[in-house]
Amino acid sequence: MRRLLVVIAAALCMAAAADPAERLPDPAQEARAREIFPQVRCLVCQNESINDSDADLARDLRRVVRDQVAAGRDEAQVKAFLTERYGEYVLLKPAFTLGNAALWLGPFLAVIAGLALLASRVRRRDLSEGLSLDEETRLARLLEDRER
């Protein structure tokens, strides 16, 4: 366990970014706080996370997150705390809830729809007439050779 902490601390010393005046004394806790920062919106800024913003509110929110982490809360608890206080708007990574189902499932549905379309087209093509596939292939090869 102690070795793990040393490794994390070493990684952190290199990755320590934000203001030294704000840092938590315990490097492991500081690292956990920092994992949360990019996921929290600076509410008054124009679409920045509290990790990036210099605004006073971002500083306050960083302090809130650090205090929570220092009090032993885990990531989910901190996020729940923030959501309760500031609404869902504060999370840059929307939770997977009923209201956000369309958001999270959309990309998968898009891919599946595309693949289904492709599959149906390929199957339909097998039945078409004209030159047979082999003949067309030979023709294509000949044309391609000529282009080279």
Partner: protein, 653 residues
């Protein structure tokens, strides 16, 4: 007087665009009318160029009786930024948009002399109709040449963040890209009206797509580089609505580039290519709307006006609505030829298109979801980078895995197994590089190492394809050389673009996973370490620039006791806008950069003043910008291919 002449020229341009639209669409079978439409398009472009010149003159001479100049320029600003101010505001940038729109129309008139009359005339006509929409908007709702009754003595200034060389060039490139897709849009509508789409059509469309795509690539890269060094925390992509707005047409344009090849070479996918051609400019217009309407909060929103946003949405609705309605009506009747087997280059390109389209849909969904959710149940949500990293990135990873197979698989009916055999060396090398990265680079990150392997897979896969085409290592060297020299420019273009993508991937993965940050409040002589570099704050002096006051730090960067770089990060205060910005100092170390930011002054130990110095070590970060530039170069090399140049001069077969 100049401004009035400009305003007059602009209105004349609108009238000529209207003529161009009517005559062009009516002139499909009447050469005399088509000729008049050509004349109108050239005249219209000259008029709008004259209006733009008038705006430039107003900015250069600081003519504050022009309200746009008064709002966006002042006498203290350096000349370069006075000039750039002409397209730095909403009104000016819309004029630039219109100029690009009519310029592209004129370019079709000039370079498309040998297109079939009907197609050319209709394309010019549709381009004119688009011009009417945007010019009417510019003239009546957003006139950049409007005068003030009581001109101020001094103007307000352009946002200091925007006073930057990269941002001088960023909008023109971006607009040449966005608006370049309008030509493709017009070509698609013209083909739908004519009811004929074939290989020749795709061959005519491809150069315009390539040109637009290359410009857009350069524009986005410049914007990204600007964000990287100007916003002061070293991020280069934030999945911000404004960035997404430019990225969606790029993704669709990329899909279009590929599907147009299939239509050109194989006569297949013509309906799909048409659809993408309509979609690309639709996304361009959507971007213009999102950026300017302020419906989404953005870190880059600099020219927001909700009322005008509604008008832009109207334009988008009219143009795209008409386009897609025509598509729904006419497309089913289009002949679509070209059979292909499940294992063929066509299928792989279709797969590429499915992924790119799904990725675009994802970006669109993520960008608009806050609006959707608010309309659904009134809740405000945020969709930020974590969402896109979890959805968009895996999609792209799949696309990258498939990519090298494409060029190595034959048209029609290919042999994926054979392609795999030609790629096993590339795959093995990529895996070795990935494992080596995992073993050597600390801290250890498995996912990032896999990303590095993916980048190398793209690069080696591309090289394997070149080796295959030139029979390298199998034929005598002379033969390989002969083939290498004889490769068509189109092939080189593809190779360079894919290579650029590989380099970008390496840079993006490396920078994201292994960037180092550090920050300390330093007194003079204090030092901090970032990675292998030691930074010493030698001095901080106050100085004055053209229109700002600056604190200029002098930082010596050493590595192993040897001085590698003298950096001068600045913190600037612009009195006209009461804004403070930081000018980052960058130390180039090969592909890496040390990124240094001078922060605020604080009280240090013993009452001595101290400055917050932040430093980042960004490994391989230059690849993030060099990769896309190489992609754009690839596009331009492909554009110079003899076949495409000849295509413009050949009648339909």
């Amino acid at each position: 007087m100049t401004a009035e002449l400009g305003a007059f020229a602009l209105t004349l341009g609108l009238a000529l665009s209207l003529m161009q639209a009517v005559l062009g669409l009516a002139g499909a079978h009447r050469p005399a009318l088509a000729g008049a439409a050509t004349g109108a398009s050239l005249g219209g472009f000259l008029c709008i160029a004259a209006a733009f010149a008038a705006l430039l003159v107003a900015f250069v001479t600081s003519d504050f009786s022009v309200s746009n100049v008064a709002a966006n320029s002042n006498t203290a600003k350096p000349m370069l930024y006075k000039v750039a101010g002409a397209w730095g505001s909403h009104e000016g940038s819309m004029l630039l948009w219109c100029m690009a729109l009519s310029g592209y129309g004129a370019a079709v008139a000039v370079f498309g002399r040998d297109l079939p009359l009907a197609l050319r005339s209709r394309t010019i006509g549709v381009q004119g109709a688009l011009g009417v929409l945007f010019l009417a908007y510019t003239v009546f709702a957003s006139n950049p040449l409007a005068r003030l009754v009581e001109p101020p003595i001094e103007g307000r200034s352009l946002n200091p963040l925007l006073q930057d060389p990269a941002l001088v060039l960023h909008p023109p490139f971006l607009y040449l890209g966005y608006v370049g897709f309008s030509v493709v849009f017009s070509f698609a509508i013209a083909a739908l009206i004519g009811g004929r789409i074939d290989a020749a059509w795709a061959r005519w469309v491809r150069p315009w797509t390539l040109a637009a795509w290359s410009m857009l690539t350069v524009g986005i890269t410049l914007g990204s580089y600007w964000a990287y060094y100007e916003l002061g925390w070293g991020g280069w992509w934030f999945w911000d609505p404004v960035e997404n707005a430019s990225f969606m047409p790029w993704l669709i344009g990329t899909a279009l580039l590929h599907s147009a090849v299939v239509t050109e070479k194989r006569g297949a996918l013509s309906g799909w290519t048409l659809f993408l051609a309509l979609a690309a400019f639709t996304f361009s217009m959507l971007g213009a709307f999102l950026v300017r309407s302020g419906v989404l909060t953005s870190v880059h929103a600099f020219a927001v006006d909700p009322e005008r946003g509604a008008l832009l949405l109207g334009i988008l609705g009219i143009a795209s609505g008409a386009g897609f309605a025509l598509f729904a009506w006419r497309a089913p009747a289009l002949q679509s030829g070209g059979l292909f087997a499940p294992a063929s280059r066509e299928s792989l390109i279709v797969l590429n298109n499915i992924i790119l389209t799904a990725a675009t849909a994802t970006v669109l969904l993520g960008t608009l979801y806050p609006l959707i959710r608010e309309a659904m149940d009134g809740n405000a949500v945020s969709v930020g980078p974590p969402y896109f990293n979890l959805t968009f990135t895996p999609l792209m990873a799949v696309a990258f895995l498939i990519l090298p197979f494409g060029p190595l698989t034959a048209w029609k009916r290919g042999d994926l197994w054979a392609a795999g055999q030609r790629l096993w060396l590339a795959a093995a090398a990529a895996i070795i590089f990935g494992l080596a990265t995992y073993a050597i680079v600390s801290p250890r990150k498995a996912l990032a190492a896999a990303g590095v392997a993916l980048g190398f897979w793209l690069i080696f896969g591309v090289l394997a394809e070149v080796a295959e085409r030139t029979r390298a290592f199998r034929a005598p060297a002379a033969e390989t050389w002969r083939r290498l020299v004889g490769l068509p420019r189109g092939a080189w273009g593809m190779t360079l673009a894919h290579l650029g993508l590989g380099l970008f991937t390496l840079g993006a993965v490396f920078e994201t996973a292994w960037k180092l940050e550090t920050a300390e409040a330093l007194s003079l002589g204090g030092r901090i370490e970032v990675g292998a570099y030691t930074l010493t704050l030698d001095s901080v002096r106050t100085g004055e620039g053209a229109n700002y006051i600056a604190e200029r730090g002098h930082v010596t960067v050493t590595r192993g006791g040897r001085v590698v770089c003298e950096a001068t990060p600045e913190r600037r205060f612009y009195p006209t806008g009461e804004k403070t910005t930081s000018e980052v100092a960058l130390c180039n170390r090969g592909l890496d950069q040390v990124y240094i930011v001078l922060g605020e002054r604080r009280a240090g130990e013993g009452g001595r003043p101290a400055w917050l110095l932040r430093a980042y070590f960004n490994p391989w970060v230059q690849l993030i910008f060099l990769g896309p530039l190489l992609m754009a170069v690839g596009g331009l090399v492909s554009l110079s291919d003899r076949r495409l140049r000849l295509a413009a001069g050949k009648k339909a077969a």
